[in-house]
């Protein structure tokens, strides 16, 4: 059913009884040309583009929980393409462009809100690093703007400009950056893929990868064996667990990142703001809750929940940046299991097994990557060669020393 204001009106008159399911609930077939493990944003987008742009149609996405139950449904929804390194910037800009057409592409309003993303700086060296970043963006044709202190004050008067320790001196603004509605992205791609014939199979955990003669022939699942021609892994925080089923060890650690939302407030923060002196970012959802987060908890975890100490630290930084948050109340805290790679950048790559492909290592920044990740992974699976925008995201870059280390923190994931 096509969505539009008209269909909404028609159905309203029919007391909304006319709507039909957004996706089927098919039984798994015995064999697919391509099986994707993981019904998160990336897995669903991959299936969608495989069917839409690369002509593969016999596809299944296997999801152990419900669609969108992973990180796509628990992130702080920031989308931007303001990366530092040339290995990353073109890819994220490609993603940004796909975002900008996504509602039309999917006939689903993912509520992309290009309200502007501001990274604040508090010292001369932070400013210099942002200038480098901004000029790198312009190299890729991406608009960026260095805003001085007064400019920032006009846009965000509630910030703590007078902080004697970490005064706000200015910021780097990407106007096209913003937020998108997390769940809608999963649902929109799922609906789109389903309409193109992709089987979305929920409550179907992959428990083994069957190989014959060095090639993958299918996967064992909680709903039985499912054969496949090619296998794509898009399991985010669980990548290591799934890859282990094919005896692959990955350059990845799984860490928990918490996110938070406040009670609903009348609009008061109009941009996405990233605090440079610490690790804090905040925006206001269209419902009115302030959605924010900070650092990872710092230890390996698959528990999808974090600890109080980290939460307190996030609040400390929040109040340092916006003193007036003090009387705002935090409603809920949750966690996601993140695939932290050893250089902090993603992997979209072939593996040592011929027909097994890997999409992982998204750290805390893979939501914004969803469209391009899906497109590039589909490209790789369908054509066997990397999409140019993702050509640096190879699994063997660690062995070869072609690292893409935005934070310069080296091979210790909890520092990225």
């Amino acid at each position: 059913m096509r969505y539009s204001a008209l269909s909404l009106l028609k159905n309203a008159l029919g007391r909304n009884l006319g709507w039909s399911p957004v996706w089927r609930e098919p039984e798994p077939k015995p064999h697919y040309d391509v099986v994707i493990v993981g019904g998160g944003g990336h897995g669903l987008a991959t299936a969608y583009y495989l069917a839409k742009a690369f002509g593969v149609t016999n596809i299944a996405v296997l999801e152990k929980g419900y669609l969108g139950s992973g990180n796509v449904g628990r992130n702080t929804t920031i989308v931007r393409s303001n990366y530092l390194l040339p290995g990353n910037e073109p890819f994220y800009e490609f993603s940004m462009k796909l975002w900008e057409g996504l509602e039309r592409e999917l006939n689903y309003n993912v509520m992309l809100s290009q309200r502007g993303v501001m990274i604040l700086y508090h010292s001369d060296s932070e400013r210099d690093a942002l200038i480098r970043r901004g000029n790198g963006m312009w190299m890729e044709g991406v608009e960026a703007e260095l805003v001085d202190r007064e400019g920032v004050r006009r846009m965000m008067p509630f910030l703590n400009f007078d902080h004697a320790r970490f005064p706000i001196l200015g910021g780097l603004l990407q106007k096209r950056g913003g937020t998108a509605r997390h769940d809608a992205v999963a649902w929109g791609y799922a609906r789109g893929a389903d309409r193109l014939g992709v089987d979305l199979i929920q409550n179907c955990a992959v428990t083994g990868i069957r190989r014959e003669a060095g090639r993958v022939v299918g996967v064992e699942t909680t709903r039985g064996f499912i054969g496949c021609g090619r296998l794509g892994l898009a399991a985010a925080g669980h990548s290591s667990e799934v890859a282990r089923m094919a005896d692959l060890a990955l350059p990845i650690e799984s860490h928990v990142l918490q996110a938070f939302v406040t009670e609903g407030l009348k609009p008061c923060i109009d941009h996405v703001i990233i605090y440079g002196a610490g690790h804090f970012y905040i925006s206001q959802s269209d419902k009115g809750g302030l959605v924010f987060g900070g650092e990872i908890d710092g230890f390996g975890s698959y528990a999808q929940r974090g600890n109080l100490a980290t939460a307190e630290h996030v609040m400390e930084e929040g109040v340092a940046m916006i003193p007036g948050l003090s009387r705002v109340k935090v409603l809920r805290a949750w966690g996601g299991v993140m695939d932290m790679s050893m250089d902090g950048s993603p992997i979209i790559s072939r593996t040592s097994i011929d027909n097994l492909y890997l999409n992982a290592g998204w750290c805390y920044g893979g939501f914004k990557a969803t469209p391009a990740s899906g497109f590039c992974f589909a490209h790789l699976i369908a054509k066997g060669e990397p999409h140019p925008a993702a050509r640096f995201f190879r699994l063997d870059r660690f062995e070869r020393g072609h690292l893409i280390d935005e934070a310069g923190a080296g091979p210790q994931p909890n520092l990225h």
């Binding site: 667990e241 710092g298 230890f299 390996g300 660690f398 091979p411």
Partner: protein, 92 residues
């Protein structure tokens, strides 16, 4: 466990006093070991969902590196020992 770690030297202490270094099962290869061994040591991680052995440093306390056996799914801590003692085959 991640609210508290029982340091064998200092007793139970809040997590903020510790810094996590990562997988403690990895052994630094000999200088002449293969490229693969070095790559595995620096970059590849078992990253288990379940019991994991990690290095935590008690930076806010005694500053010792500890070997912490911990379940990454439940956050239960199963054992904590001094890393140097473990490395030298002492109390494990």
């Amino acid at each position: 466990m991640a609210s508290l770690i029982s340091c064998p030297h200092c007793g139970p202490r809040p997590k903020e006093e510790f810094a996590v270094r990562g997988d403690a099962t990895l052994l630094r290869p000999a200088p002449e070991a293969s490229d693969e061994a070095w790559h595995a040591y620096v970059y590849l991680r078992a990253n288990p969902r379940g019991v994991h052995v990690e290095h935590w440093q008690h930076v806010g306390g005694c500053r010792r590196f500890l070997v912490v056996e911990r379940n990454t799914l439940t956050h239960d801590v199963l054992s904590v020992a001094d890393a140097a003692e473990v490395a030298q085959g002492g109390a494990a």
